[in-house]
Structure formats: C-alpha cells, structure tokens
C-alpha cells in the first residue's frame, strides 16, 4: 500500500491520510521552490494539486529545478511538472495552469483550493497572493531565498498575521535567484520547509509557522525564528483588488507613444528598440539602443537600471515581453511603448513640434 510508511505514524494514521486525500493545494510558480514542494506533496497523497506558471524550461534552470529533464528544455514548466507528479503518483489530481497569476485569475483560482503555496520569485506576486488570500480567506505558505538564506512562514492562517504585517512596504527591491545567484540545495531546503508546513496544516499536527518567521542559513545552519503579530489591516474589497492589480499591471506596463516622445530629450531616459536590425521604419532617437528581443538577456550590462527605460518594437507586443524580462531582472523603471514604432512614426510625421535627429 502506497502510503503505509506514513500511515503507521501515530500523527498520521488512516484519518490523516484521508485528510491528505481531501486537501487541495495550489503552488504558485514552478521553479526552484516548487521543485521541492511538488514532489513531496504528490508523494504524500495530497488529493489535488494545482501548479501555475507560464514559463518555459531553460538550461540554466536545471541547476536547481530538479524535477525537469535536460531533454525538456523549451517545454512548459507547469505541464512537465504535472507529468512528473503524475508519474510519481497517478492516484492524485494535478492541474497545470500555463498562465501567470494576475488580477483577473487570482481570486477565482484561490477559491478552488484550500492552501496556497508561494513558490514565486518576485515581491510583487507575493503581495498579490497575500491580498487575494485575505479576500478569499485562505492561508498561504510563504517561502523565499536570498543566496544562502531563506525565509518561511504561514500567513493568514486561522486569523494569524499576513505578509503585509511582516513587510508593509510594498514597493521595495529585492533580488531573485537570477540576479543574486543561488545553489539548488538552498532553494530545495526552503521548498521542503514549505511542503512541511502544508502537511502540518492538512494533518493538523505539530506547530505551524503562523505568527513566526523562520530564517535558515545554509552556510552555518543557523536557524532563527521571529514572532510576528497581526497588524489588523482591512483586506481590499474584490473591486479594489482588481483595480489595484490591474492598474499596476497595465499602467506600469505601458506608456502611450505621445508620452514616450515627450521624454526624448530627457537624459535620464533610454529607449530600446527590441526589433531585429533589418526591421523598418527606423526611429532615430537621440538616446536609444537597438537590442533584439532574443538578445536582451545577454545585454543587461548595456543598460542602466537607474534610468527610465522605454521599450518599443513594431506594434507594441514584443516590447511588453521585453518589459517583463527586464522587470524580472531588477529593472523597475521600464515601460512598453503602446503601438510601437508604427505609432511613433505616425506621431513624429504629424507633429512638427517634435524634432528627432
């Protein structure tokens, strides 16, 4: 019998196994943390596991995202993760969602699960998860890594504190693994701690890290816990939640071509053309560089993250992807020019007040 080795534990038993089978857990992110969380939750028999990520597997992921195969580079993480989990345990349900968590899907998605697990790699999504969990009244297991240190806690559990109680300042910078670097083992250990919290919550055993922040240091094995109180913040209404995150997602993402052209003489602004060299029309802007989208990730050194970066492509689609990439690499002052080069050309042609060399 598959679960025999845990059923014989007095803390688990048949009753505990039943609880595991009825539990529905959503893992947000299918990267390094998920690579430890997913297999162990699947192995333990969590009845339904969702995994949401729109990323594709890259070779540099394999140093820590150990559930993926070398011959699967280029494939969808969520789909590969599902395959791995189902081949480990075909008796459970796995929902792979090839999407990004956002203002529109967060609340409907959270309503379908009991526990959310934050396996993300950026602060913005942690606040989104936190707020959606408050609205849907669900707990989430927080985990994060900075080089050789990790943090774990459980938020919004049985009226416990939230992520905002711990870190009220939403608009700060923090490096993720791509920027700061990480060993696979470090992110794996923190992911295991998160899986451990999920299992304690489902089985109702042990002490859940609610109201406590655990910080673990891989280099010296120092473990610290900090007590945390709920600061009684009123959750957003659903309408305000959508407005806030839609607002952040859209306005931060795009700038109108008109507004972009107002900045051409601003020395704190840089324009990036992410089209291929041969694409026309060329827009001759004084403070501009051409970096084709496919080469963007190799050229961060050319960019100053203190400057405001305005990205354009032909019509405004590729530039949005470029903005996403830049934001994931700690370039926070980035926007995509709506309408792209075609719109820019149109405005320059009709507006004699704009002079472009």
């Amino acid at each position: 019998m598959r679960y025999n080795r845990q059923i014989i534990l007095p803390e688990v038993g048949e009753k505990g196994q039943e609880k595991l089978g009825l539990a529905r857990v959503l893992i947000i992110g299918a990267g390094g943390l998920a690579a430890a969380i997913l297999p162990y939750l699947a192995a333990a028999g969590i009845g339904e596991i969702g995994i949401i990520d729109d990323d594709l597997i890259e070779i540099s992921n394999l140093q820590r995202q150990v559930i993926y195969k070398s011959n699967a580079v280029g494939k969808s993480k969520a789909l590969e993760a599902k395959e791995m989990a189902l081949s480990l345990n075909p008796s459970i349900e796995i929902n792979a969602i090839t999407d990004t968590l956002n203002a529109k899907n967060a609340i409907p998605l959270f309503e379908q699960y009991d526990i959310m697990v934050d396996a993300t790699d950026n602060l913005h999504t942690k606040y989104l998860i936190n707020d959606a969990c408050q609205i849907t009244n669900k707990p989430f297991v927080y985990g994060s890594i900075y080089k050789f240190q990790g943090q774990v806690s459980v938020f919004n559990y049985q009226n416990g504190p939230t992520y905002r109680c711990l870190f009220p300042n939403e608009f700060s910078n923090s490096e993720n693994c791509v920027d700061a670097g990480v060993m696979g083992i470090s992110v794996g250990i923190i992911g295991m701690f998160q899986a451990n919290e999920v299992l304690k919550m489902v089985l109702e055993i042990g002490n859940v890290l609610s109201g406590e922040l655990l910080i673990y240091n891989m280099l010296n094995n120092d473990q610290q816990k900090f007590d945390l109180l709920r600061t009684n913040l009123t959750p957003l209404s659903r309408l305000d939640f959508e407005k806030k995150y839609n607002g952040i997602e859209n306005s931060v993402l795009e700038i109108t071509a008109e507004a972009a052209l107002e900045e051409i003489n601003n020395s704190d602004v840089v324009f990036i053309d992410v089209r291929n060299e041969e694409e026309l029309p060329k827009i001759n802007l004084p403070n501009a560089v051409q970096i084709p989208l496919s080469e963007l990730e190799n050229n961060f050194a050319k960019l100053d993250s203190n400057k405001k970066i305005l990205v354009y492509c032909q019509s405004g689609i590729r530039s949005k992807k470029a903005v996403e990439i830049l934001k994931n690499h700690s370039f926070f002052k980035v926007q995509s020019i709506a309408g792209g080069a075609l719109k820019l050309e149109e405005i320059i042609a009709t507006n004699n007040a704009i002079s472009v060399s």
Partner: protein, 78 residues
Amino acid sequence: MLSVKYFGAVAEKTKVAEENFSLSNQSLQELVDELEQKYDLTSLSYSIAVNQKMVQDKNSYMLMSNDVVALLPPFAGG
C-alpha cells in the same frame, strides 16, 4: 551592550552578520537611523525585530542591555 544581526541584502551592505554596540539611552529608531547612515541602508527596505519579536513602533521602543536587534529584509528568490 547590545547586538545587531543583519540578514540578506542588508548584510551585504554591512559586510558583517553581527555587531555589538555599547548601550546608550536611545530608542530603536535612533539606532536604526545611525545604522542607515553608517551603512547607507536608505535604499533598502527591511523590518526590525528585537529579541526575536518583530517591532512595529520603533520610536517608542527604548533599547535595553542585552537586546538583540535584527534587520530583516524581504527575500524574493524562488
């Protein structure tokens, strides 16, 4: 005597994980202001704990002998 522990990106700036300071009659906020100046921490965001408990109101907390202060920035990797 009190000790201050640094984590994550804060420790990168201070270049040490822990330091001791002699106690003077100051609030937690005053100590934090000194550290921000000393290590140029103003661009970083972090929360503060004293003796393993997160502290929200730094102004009204007066530091005492043997206090252990911790500067905790949010981590983002995953």
